[in-house]
Amino acid sequence: MTSTSPRTKNTARTTSAVGDKVFFGLSWTGGAIILVVLAFVAAFLLIRSLPAIMPETFGPGAGEAIDFWSYVWPLMAGTVLVSVIALLLATPVAIGISLFISHYAPRRFANSIGYLIDLLAAIPSVVYGAWGMLVLAPAMVPIYHWLHNNLGFIPLFAGDPSVTNTGRTILTSGVVLAVMVLPIMTALCREIFLQVPHLQEEAALGLGATRWEMIKMTVFPFARAGVISSIMLALGRALGETMAVTMVLSAGGFSWSLVTSGANGTIPAEIALNFPEAFGQRQSELIAAGLMLFVITLIVNVIARAIVNSHAKKAEGLS
């Protein structure tokens, strides 16, 4: 391109400089949109839910509740209850599978097993809902009857007023939720277990530790913060999961019994069941309930991130 005149070179340079500015502007805008969207999420939810949160304007429509808080607390309690059930069931299994993939499975299969568990995450939530409603719930009925007959003295299995005959209880929803958060927790825990320094593991084995002792001495101390934060992230997911609960649970007021249908409810399920037909004041109530859910999941997620960050700082200080 030696024949190019200085003049055209110059224009090429200026268009290029303009291109630089335009490209920077576009990228900056992309980042700014994210911040704006999140601000809008909070602002719109707040604006739409104000009429419901104000005690003087809270109207009928949400059953016998007299104000917003007495309407929303049983739902919040139900949401937390079902998520806790899901985590209690999923955490041991997730840690087990992660250990299996990272330390126990034959090397050749470990990766394929990882893919297999990731497949669980690819199944849409509505399919889990359908499975929980039509397959799992009927299969759980004999277990609930057995629990009620043998462990009925524990309030959780009291079956008040009656034990379910459809299986559509909060415990079934918890099981479905556990299956849904399992792949997330497994993926995160597996990642952390694989990062454990090999030299430490070999040192433990070299001192004559059995494999379990090696895991107890090197893997768990290294991975503790990561495992806790993955549990918190899974909790955030479980709190906001809608379809598994909406389709499986036949909802009602809050109750400690896990084996009764027509008891308990969660915020996402309440919204999904009622929002399509709601209007006016009822809509505001549901949006306000959604705002509460948003706040709860936000707190859980921020705590999870804080644990990760503080641990990262500590690790930097040690090394």
Binding site: F23, I33, H103, Y104, A122, I123, G129, G208, A209, R211
Partner: protein, 410 residues
């Protein structure tokens, strides 16, 4: 070298490791080795290799007996649970008696880890099996399901299908069209925003306040419950309509469209795109960028011609995964797009039905409340199609990442 040692130690957990002798009194050891032959000293404190088979057979028989005697009806699940518990416990006890406490504990935890893997397989197989076994026969018997919508299908049709064996009416076409249009629109919104935001983060951000803020809020956005995203889109567009068109019921009704659902899905999709793209852009080595700058190439040309092409396969695969994730979402579409029985190609006006919402509605409110079977059959067929779409996108993403990866050869 180290990995060799590691793998040998792993593959032979009992054999190659010495007994943890350090924990025993030295006198015991010497007396043992003097009394026993060489073979004995190697196999001492080891249970015979066939122990696990005996334990498995024993616990299976015991579990069978108990399930037959104690419960009214035989259940495979109960049998499997009991047999598993018996097996793990009996192996622990045997190992404790024939070997020592350390080996028994080690074995116990090994069994629990294997068990957790099999526990996780149960729901995976059960979900896939129920969808395929219930959806595939319906789909094969009524291929028309894919090309028909629910327009004009009323309860009496389903009652005729269930009681008189008439062919199954209706279909899932409107759901397919809805999912296609809404997902397409959500991608059109999210991909540019996500791409440019991640380019800003990696190429321009330099860890300043603004980029750290974006990173933090992307993390926050990944945690937004999907139904809250739906409520946000609905609340936002309602405000917009109230301010521009008016507060009449017709105006408010017009909020529920495909585009509202697409905005809701974008809120869920943008953080996924940003996260995966940022990761891929950071992998691009700085030497490539510097080589380009050294040749006098402008920054934006460098990004367009060097950085993006290098990371393209990873970015494309991440975007495909993000699309797969939102294509299966139900809750945000449920609260934003309404529900209709006919096919609607226009996401900017009228209600729209997405496939997941169709499945949900068919199960919760069957077309004929008294005869739910045809609706359930349609729902399972829809679920099968949905799983095929989502799994296809997932496999496609893996294929893109694998086959279009940049050539690293010299």
């Amino acid at each position: 070298m180290t990995s060799q040692i590691r793998s040998r130690a792993k593959s032979n957990p009992q054999g190659s490791q010495q007994d943890p002798d350090g924990r025993k009194k030295p006198e015991d050891m010497t007396t043992q080795t003097h009394k026993k032959s060489r073979l004995d000293s190697l196999t001492a404190n080891r249970k015979p290799t066939w122990t696990w088979m005996a334990a498995a057979a024993g616990s299976a028989i015991l579990a069978l007996l108990i399930t037959l005697l104690a419960f009214e009806s035989f259940s495979v699940v109960g049998f499997a649970i009991l047999a598993g518990i018996f097996y793990v416990v009996s192996m622990y006890v045997i190992s404790r008696m024939l070997e020592d406490r350390l080996k028994a504990t080690d074995e116990f935890w090994r069994h629990l880890v294997w068990t957790s893997f099999f526990i996780a397989l149960v729901p995976l197989i059960s979900v896939l099996w129920s969808v395929i076994s219930q959806g595939l026969p319906t789909l094969l018997a009524n291929p028309g399901l894919l090309t028909a919508d629910m327009g004009g299908v009323v309860g009496s049709d389903d009652i005729a299908t269930q009681s008189e064996g008439e062919p199954l009416q209706g279909g899932i076409l409107h759901g397919l069209v809805g999912t296609l249009m809404i997902t397409l629109l959500a991608s059109v919104i999210s991909i540019p925003v996500g791409l440019f935001a991640s380019i800003y983060l990696t190429e321009y951000g330099n860890r300043n306040m603004f980029s750290r803020g974006i990173r933090f809020f992307v993390d926050v956005m990944t945690g937004i419950p999907s139904i809250v995203a739906g409520l946000f889109a609905f609340a936002g567009l309602t405000l917009f309509v109230e301010l521009t068109i008016g507060t009449s019921p017709q105006a408010l009704q017009s909020v529920k469209t495909g585009v509202t659902a697409a905005i809701a899905l974008s809120v869920l999709m943008i953080p996924v795109v940003v996260r995966s793209t940022e990761e891929m852009l950071q992998v691009v080595s700085n030497e490539l960028r510097e080589a380009s700058y050294a040749l006098g190439v402008r920054k934006w040309r460098t990004i367009m011609k060097v950085v993006l092409p290098t990371a393209m396969s990873g970015i494309a695969s991440g975007i495909t995964l993000a699309i797969a994730r939102v294509a299966g979402e139900t809750a945000p579409i449920l609260v934003t797009a309404g529900y209709v029985a006919t096919t609607n190609w226009n996401p900017f006006s009228e209600w729209m039905t997405a496939l997941p919402v169709f499945i949900y509605r068919q199960l919760i409110n069957p077309t004929a409340p008294a005869a739910g079977d045809p609706s359930t059959a349609r729902a399972w067929a829809g679920a099968l199609v949905l799983i095929v779409i989502v799994m296809g996108l997932n496999l496609g993403a893996r294929a893109i990442a694998k086959y279009f990866a940049p050539k690293t050869g010299k």
